[in-house]
């Protein structure tokens, strides 16, 4: 049965999303070379565009894998002398369990464990995962992280070269080593999701493509590791967080706070799936970090309204999370929840107890949270100062409603930062993996709180600040100083 061009290209696009990782993973085993495997898989997808006009196969993954592997064998036979000179990927001979549907071994876990090997740095892990496991082009990966295509290409090439020359094996780690390796894989998936969920810089709050890919990856890991509570916990967290995607911006494109979001527009199917996964993940002892974060998200998702949110339950969950994962950012979120559970004066006291925490200096959410509690206590002057400070410390344009971020995009590997200050403030539920600070170069030392206090935000309307920043950015200069030049 023949298919029309539109149906074929839709089927190929669908297969690209669903079958890329499987096809590539099975082809790598034949080629023992990541680049050649990629070429062969790309070639198989290109062939599908014409071949499938005669009929779309019942099992596109099997068709693509057969085609890619056949092509790989051809190339290997032809280039046998040339290939002998290249460092070969170390492939563990142990067979993976064959996929019941088509008999090919399912090597996807090998592929993602290799991409997220601890001998590769985190940026390389993320880039390789998006490129090799998700099948994104280098240009797409570069765009997602706002670096130039040349920079991203170099990063990916360097990582692949290290895999081959240092002999990082194409292997699922042994049972003893599996837990830390899975942890690294999940961290990469979470980072991809967070980058998509609140783009660190730029004019869009959400990059749907990255969010979708992270969800696909997480579903894949959940299927490959059905017994792993952390995979279940992370999938729950992503589903419950993303269930609110459509309501995070209002009609005018401004950030909608959790309090103001239209809860009837939340994705109830995703919430139901997420809550079921949370229950499963929380059965593990001790409960994992993602499961606890997901449980907090679940309390919000289950609340009929802002005012009916069970804040005491949320504080209790943060207490457990803080034991499991002692992080200043979690402590900050807990302090915010305390304010909603027991009153702003308690929240403010909890926040001020964190004032000496060096990791939170330069972290906009702390200022935003203080501002909100101060406002609710009618301490208007102090609140305004704190709001000014928060605005200066966030970079997403939607978040800060207008700071010039284009100047940052040319910074190599600028740090990720900036989820919704105000969402955290209202909900206390996002937990960025690490404290963020304003400039990439300051990632390691954010500057002490004392120095920040010593150079207070100029008390002028934020509009003035924004227009100054814009002017300077249009002139091509990079904003180097923490504060706008007078």
């Amino acid at each position: 049965m023949s298919a029309d061009a539109a149906a074929v290209s839709a089927a190929v696009a669908d297969a690209h999303r669903r079958e890329w990782a499987f096809t590539l993973a099975a082809t790598v085993r034949v080629t023992r070379d990541l680049d050649l495997a990629e070429e062969c898989v790309q070639d198989a997808y290109a062939r599908a565009l014409t071949a499938w006009r005669d009929g779309i196969p019942d099992r596109p993954g099997a068709w693509l894998t057969t085609t890619a592997r056949r092509r790989a064998l051809d190339v290997l036979r032809r280039d046998v002398l040339f290939r002998r000179a290249m460092p070969e990927l170390v492939v563990d001979e142990a067979e993976s369990a064959p996929d019941p549907a088509d008999g090919f071994p399912d090597d996807r876990l090998r592929l993602i464990c290799t991409c997220c090997h601890p001998a590769l740095n985190r940026d390389a892990q993320v880039a390789l995962t998006l490129r090799l496991v998700c099948g994104l082009s280098t240009a797409d990966v570069a765009r997602a992280f706002l670096v130039s295509e040349a920079t991203m290409a170099a990063r990916i090439t360097r990582a692949k070269k290290k895999i081959a020359t240092a002999r990082i094996p194409y292997r699922v780690p042994s049972a003893d080593d599996l837990a830390p390796r899975v942890e690294a894989v999940l961290a990469v998936v979470y980072l991809i999701f967070s980058t998509g969920h609140t783009a660190p810089r730029g004019s869009d709050l959400v990059r749907a493509e990255l969010v979708e890919r992270a969800l696909d990856l997480c579903r894949m890991l959940r299927a490959l590791l059905p017994e792993d509570p952390d995979a279940a916990g992370l999938l729950a967290l992503l589903l419950l967080t993303d269930a609110r995607r459509e309501t995070r911006l209002d009609a005018s494109g401004a950030l909608a706070l959790l309090r103001d979001q239209d809860r009837s527009a939340w994705d109830r199917a995703a919430i139901a799936e997420g809550i079921a996964l949370v229950r499963e993940a929380l059965r593990a002892r001790p409960a994992g970090r993602y499961a606890l974060q997901a449980a907090i998200a679940a309390v919000h998702a289950a609340a009929p309204s802002w005012d009916d949110t069970d804040w005491q339950e949320i504080v209790g969950l943060y207490d457990v999370l803080l034991q499991r994962w002692p992080s200043p950012v979690v402590a900050l979120n807990r302090a915010v929840a305390v304010g909603f559970a027991f009153g702003p004066e308690h929240g403010l006291a909890a926040l001020d107890a964190l004032g000496a925490e060096p990791h939170l200096a330069g972290y906009g959410y702390l200022a935003a949270a203080r501002a909100d509690f101060l406002r609710r206590l009618d301490r208007t002057g102090e609140a305004r100062l704190a709001y000014e400070e928060a605005l200066l410390l966030t970079e997403n344009e939607v978040e800060s409603a207008g700071s010039c971020s284009s100047g940052w995009s040319s910074w190599p590997d600028a740090g990720r930062r900036g989820a919704c200050a105000v969402v955290v403030l209202r909900a206390g539920r996002r937990n960025p993996a690490r404290p963020r600070c304003r400039r990439p170069g300051r990632r390691r030392s954010c500057g002490s709180r004392a120095t920040r206090r010593a150079s207070p935000a100029p008390p002028r309307p934020s509009r003035t600040r924004r227009s100054r920043t814009r002017r300077r950015c249009r002139g091509g200069g990079r904003p180097r100083s923490r504060w706008p030049a007078p």
């Binding site: 000179a85 170390v90 090997h117 001998a119 020359t165 240092a166 002999r167 990082i168 094996p169 292997r171 780690p173 080593d177």
Partner: protein, 117 residues
């Protein structure tokens, strides 16, 4: 099989005036490493302190300068090495984890050996 060099870095100042007990622990660790990996260890030595190092480098006029001291002045210095054979990086990392690390600020670096064919 591939060859890797495991480079042992430590902070020499942490060895000033240490008791025999710590030294003995280090030796015991190295002996245990040697017994565990036997033939996979192709060679290895401890190095004299960097104060004994001499560096030869171009003098910029076509000749060579000989100077006192290590090539790079860092707090952590190369204190020894093992040349090992391992099937892949995971195995080499596993070996490097078994090599005693002398100082809190020290560490073992794993470098694949380049092969010319």
């Amino acid at each position: 099989m591939a060859k890797y060099l495991i480079l042992l870095y430590d902070n020499e100042s942490e060895w000033v005036g240490v008791q025999n007990e710590k030294t003995e622990r280090m030796f015991a660790g190295h002996r245990a490493f040697g017994e565990k990996y036997g033939e996979a260890i192709l060679g290895g030595h401890a190095l004299q302190p960097v104060a004994t190092a001499t560096t030869v480098r171009p003098d910029g006029a076509g000749g060579l300068d000989v100077t006192d001291g290590p090539f790079a002045e860092t707090k952590e210095a190369l204190g020894g090495f093992y040349l090992v054979e391992a099937p892949d990086l995971d195995a080499a990392i596993e070996m490097a984890k078994q090599v005693p690390i002398a100082a809190a600020s020290g560490g073992n670096e794993v470098r694949p050996i380049m092969v010319f064919e």
